[in-house]
Symmetry: C2
Subunit: 225 residues, 2 copies
Amino acid sequence: MTTAPLSPSSRTTVTRGRNRAVEDRAELHALLADALIAHVGVDVGDHPVVLPVAFAVDLDGPDQGGTLYIHGSVAARWLTRSEGSTVCVTITEVDGLVAARSAFHHSMNYRSAVVIGAARVVDDPDEKARALSLTVDHMVPGRAATLRPHTRKEIAATSVLAVPLHEASLKIRAEGPVDEPEDVDAGVWGGVIPIRRIAGAPVPAPEAVDSRVPDDVVRRSEQLA
Amino acid sequence: MTTAPLSPSSRTTVTRGRNRAVEDRAELHALLADALIAHVGVDVGDHPVVLPVAFAVDLDGPDQGGTLYIHGSVAARWLTRSEGSTVCVTITEVDGLVAARSAFHHSMNYRSAVVIGAARVVDDPDEKARALSLTVDHMVPGRAATLRPHTRKEIAATSVLAVPLHEASLKIRAEGPVDEPEDVDAGVWGGVIPIRRIAGAPVPAPEAVDSRVPDDVVRRSEQLA
């Protein structure tokens, strides 16, 4: 695991809103832990396609800066086609709506990471199995250990894309509105509507045999509540 | 405003998980109304970049199927550079974590729209002003009417990208785990952890002159609660 600052290349150097750029790997890792999905952009010829994906992070993974794993089906053509190409994976959490005194200064509080790197299709069954377990644990921490092992057929039917976490940038906005003084003086209300994600009580599948909700699911539900 | 089914081209025809594709413009519009941000993918030479953006929808906008407006600063190079190029705008809401009886069948409940189209940089000051107001109202419905008019300087300092809503696809997953019968019989718990977004009580800016929270902010806070 690396603790190198975020930084890397001109591709991920934040040029807009430089004051929002954060160069701290710990903050990047915290965002990756909080977020449920990523949006991956791949070139498919004459235009990019952006798709939501489940993901997992292995800070001790084989890639520089750790490895970001993206999970898909073997039938997902965009995924296997992106082997070797440069992809962009963006992870964003909205933390608040910033209601300024003018339309112009309306904004959002958010955390957003942009990771750019060469996509590697994971072939090794052990790395694939590990990525699949990490993806389950990313959704419901601790759950993978409570499940039966992956079968060879399941591993073969899963495609996993690995992207190095090395080249990443992070932007965070976490403040109130930045208004013109005359708008503040005019007495218009300005402030933030905080936004967060919560979980409801777990809903058992209709055909559930055992009605006891396992601890990992209860914990995840409470974590997000 | 169009009520034509989603449809369009081979670029937005859902090839994976066809059973999750939804061809109903009303469901697309409902997702666009619920979502706070979009992720836009643009080509920047040898790779795509995916960025989170505030957005607004004008179903009566000048483009076929209505217009999706993306809001940025004039200094955001990716935005002005994307004029005429094909961009992909993806809007995703996560509605639940699907805890299956095997790692392989873990999934999420979600709604995701993918819009692909030629980006048009909005030059007309009236259309720009309208897009800016729609973006504010998308964040806090009804707020734009409570604010002073945009200044010419603010309009000039804002870049707005328009993308037609014509070429769009929508995928929705909204069900429990789809498990192997033998895993169900084994008595492992399976179900869904519902996820939703809530708002906290509005936080006034420290320099607030008027401490009364306006109705539009209260309503938005309650809508998301």
